[in-house]
């Protein structure tokens, strides 16, 4: 038995060392071609937000559509883009609490009203968010040791094909970058025929978190602005009439009950040009600047800061 255990222990030690070393090396290689890792991005966002805490009056919370599509430098007051890929309303709620506790001058909250965010309940970044959010956040998720602690480290080992492609491919586009104001800029180009398929099953939990956010804003005297980001045909086709009616009722209730302002750019033709996008869903740098200017003008129309 002892001999057997020694053999197993050697294999386990080899596996752990291999995973550890591989993760360190692969992160270094990939960051050259693909910029910061997800963990680095989130950690940097929290660090940057904290370092600017005394000047932040406005926060932008949303999914990747905001993360890519809002340039806070073009908005007044200049705030911080705290969106992230796959963020849905539960994450936005806890981010809002974090920002409110961190930034004493906060007075405006701009929330991305994204249909997808109601249909997502992502746990892939919980191993990072656990470090910043209260324990209450985790209670919505199953206490799965594998998902919370093992999976995040194993998933890093699945990027070998990406590394090989990176090394042997000629890189004509620079790696993405995360600005000091939290905007994530990528340099890919969208195509006319881009499309994406989404699951459109709505989580009641996300609706309740959405309502919690708008209520939180009202309770803490924060101005709440909801923004529907442009949806190209390749994404908008996912939603049928019933789904859109349900979304409209959510936004109607938020406006009625909590006096939120809703700015709807979902099918704004001016913002649906393929040249404004880096892929099917996300605005590119040019598109983000155009959109941010337009948003700034529209916000000013009803609220002169």
């Amino acid at each position: 038995m002892k001999k057997y255990i020694i053999n197993i222990v050697i294999i386990v030690i080899y596996s752990v060392l291999f995973i550890g070393l591989y993760n360190i090396l692969s992160t270094k290689i990939l960051s050259v071609y693909y910029g910061l890792t997800t963990k680095q991005q989130i950690d940097k966002q929290f660090a940057d937000l904290t370092s600017q805490r005394d000047s932040i009056e406005c926060i932008y919370l949303g999914s990747s559509k905001f993360y890519h599509g809002i340039n806070p430098n073009l908005l007044t007051p200049c705030g911080y883009n705290f969106g992230h890929d796959n963020d849905s309303y539960n994450q936005m709620y806890y981010k809002l609490q974090y920002v409110r506790n961190c930034c004493p001058r906060l007075r405006r909250v701009v929330i991305c009203f994204d249909y997808v965010s109601f249909c997502v309940f992502s746990e892939t970044r919980n191993y990072i968010y656990h470090n910043y959010f209260p324990d209450e956040y985790s209670q919505d998720y199953s206490k799965n040791f594998y998902n919370n602690y093992v999976y995040p480290y194993l998933i890093g080992t699945k990027n070998l094909p990406k590394i090989i492609v990176s090394i042997f491919n000629e890189h004509s586009i620079p790696p993405p970058c995360l600005t000091k104001k939290g905007q994530y800029i990528t340099y890919e180009e969208a195509h006319k025929d881009d499309y994406v398929k989404y699951c459109t099953d709505i989580y009641d939990l996300q609706i309740s978190y959405f309502n919690k956010i708008v209520k939180y804003c009202q309770d803490h005297h924060l101005e709440c602005i909801l923004v529907g980001m442009p949806n190209r045909d390749g994404e908008y086709w996912n939603y049928d009439k019933d789904f859109i009616e349900k979304m409209n009722s959510i936004i109607y209730n938020a406006q009625k009950d909590y006096s939120c302002v809703y700015l709807n750019y979902i099918r704004d033709k001016e913002l649906l040009d393929v040249n404004l996008f880096s892929d099917v869903s996300h605005l590119n740098q040019y598109g983000a600047d155009l959109f941010s200017r337009k948003l700034n003008i529209d916000i000013k129309k009803f609220n002169d800061y």
């Binding site: 294999i11 291999f18 040791f145 594998y146 094909p161």
Partner: protein
């Protein structure tokens, strides 16, 4: 709890350590009691509501076994036969109720409504117990084997309970036979280093085929099957050729893990696969694919039917084969696609039966490069194509969908390049090709990593062990996908 998950690993570590704790009174009975308890815990984690069914059927068949033996000792052959018949019917009824009742009722209603007779039936809300097809077959074979005087009935309920609910095999097989399994429980199992290393390697190989091949291919096959109509003919054709390897890697992966776990516990579990894709015809394929199920049905269905139809000579064999294969198909689930899948394979036997080569095992011939000779190779390819076609019917949700898929293959776009995205698919494809080569090279082994025991030094690790571990880390799909045969 998936066998290749972290939860199972933790569960098994506890089972393993306690199983071999050197208590002075560590008799086989203690080991069996521990296995019995942990098997029920394992089953309970998968589906605790069905524990009463598992326990109840185990108690009933245990009692029937003892009663049968008593009557046989008294030479009451008629009562003994009746007990056996009753036990078989009871097993079939359990399967019919839980697995097929709604299916047959709905099919009959459609039939009656089709001919103008209005019949109504409210579908019952029957939950399918996990592993029912596997443990019911074990229960039935236990009684038949006692009746055939191949085994003595278990006098120890715990022993019998372990045979039925043995946790590595209860959810997806292999279907162990009582004459091979139960005697192993009667003796004390000592830790055997060679067997443990062999078992660990087999588990590792099972994890590799499941995580690196089956799960990576599944990402492609699952997405293509959900949207058949928008796929090109060439894509559908490629997926139909990849699916058999995915099935094989998935189910053989599970079987290897179950056998490996058995070895770690000092118990030999029945082999389920023997390089099926090296088969030169369908009959040989079925002798090497899901061996425990095929052998079960051969022994308890085909052979009795063959005897009953012996006056019809070759046509009797054909008839028996067709019934046998429709049952093999339906064993997988309540759907006409499974029945059609079985019938399709039964029909493929007809030329083999008529040519008189049913029982003959074809020897593989190799050329000077160690590769199969052209004729053998073409036979293997032909068999693989026939299996691929059958698995389209198997994988489809309805006969209509299967026809749609086949029609889709033979569209004009069959000459285009297949469109399958994602690096995991290419990896799965690459490993799938490697798997077939490895199967050929190591065809004399139970699994490719099997090696001669070398119990001389402290370490017994080979370079291949580290390579496979590295492959699993780098290329294994870590989403903990369920095994395909879990649903049956």
């Amino acid at each position: 709890m998936v066998v290749n998950s972290l939860n199972f690993l933790l569960f098994f570590v506890v089972v393993f350590i306690v199983y071999y704790i050197p208590i002075s009174k560590n008799t086989p009975k203690l080991q069996n009691t521990w296995l019995f308890l942990t098997s029920y815990v394992f089953y309970g984690i998968a589906d605790w509501k069905m524990i009463p069914l598992l326990m109840g059927t185990t108690v009933v068949y245990y009692g029937l076994g003892l009663w049968l033996k008593t009557e046989m000792e008294k030479d009451n052959t008629r009562i003994a036969s009746n007990i056996t018949t009753m036990a078989v019917i009871l097993g079939i009824c359990i399967l019919l109720y839980f697995k097929y009742l709604n299916f047959f009722a709905e099919s009959f209603i459609q039939l009656f409504n089709g001919i103008g007779l209005q019949v109504s039936w409210s579908t019952l809300n029957i939950v399918l117990p996990i592993g029912i097809s596997f443990f019911t077959f074990k229960l039935i074979s236990y009684i038949i084997e006692i009746h055939r005087e191949h085994i003595q009935p278990c006098t120890d309920f715990i022993e019998f309970g372990v045979y039925i609910a043995f946790f590595p095999t209860i959810l997806s097989g292999p279907i162990d036979r009582p004459n091979k399994f139960i005697p192993q429980l009667k003796r004390k199992r000592y830790f055997n280093f060679d067997l443990a290393i062999d078992g660990s390697r087999q588990i590792l190989w099972g994890m590799f085929t499941k995580m690196c091949i089956a799960d990576n291919l599944a990402t492609a096959t699952d997405s293509i099957w959900t949207d058949i109509s928008s796929q090109s003919g060439s894509t559908l054709l490629l997926i139909s050729f990849l699916y058999p390897i995915q099935m094989y890697a998935d189910f053989d992966g599970y079987s290897n893990m179950a056998i490996g776990i058995g070895k770690l516990l000092g118990i030999n579990v029945t082999k389920n696969f023997n390089h099926p894709f090296l088969s030169q015809n369908i009959a040989e394929y079925w002798r090497n694919w899901h061996i425990s199920l095929t052998k079960w049905l051969t022994d308890y269905v085909f052979l009795p039917l063959n005897i009953a139809f012996r006056k019809m000579k070759k046509y009797g064999i054909i008839f028996a084969i067709l019934i046998n294969f429709v049952l093999i198909g339906l064993w997988h689930g309540a759907n006409w696609t499974f029945a059609l899948f079985g019938l399709y394979h039964g029909l493929l036997y007809i030329p083999i039966i008529l040519s008189g080569s049913l029982g003959k095992k074809k020897k593989l011939h190799t050329n000077k490069y160690g590769l199969p000779k052209r004729k053998d190779f073409l036979n293997m390819i032909g068999t693989y194509c026939l299996v691929s076609l059958g698995l389209i019917i198997f994988r489809a949700n309805s006969v209509f969908e299967a026809l749609k898929y086949i029609k889709g293959i033979f569209s004009a776009s069959i000459v285009s390049l297949p469109i399958i995205g994602g690096s995991s698919v290419y990896l799965g494809f690459l490993f799938a090709i490697c798997l077939l080569f490895v199967d050929w090279i190591y065809k004399s082994r139970d699994y490719p990593m099997q090696q001669e025991a070398n119990n001389t030094g402290l370490l017994n690790l080979k370079i291949s062990d580290f390579i496979i571990v590295t492959f699993i880390i780098l290329f294994g799909n870590i989403e903990s996908k369920q095994f395909i045969y879990f649903q049956f």
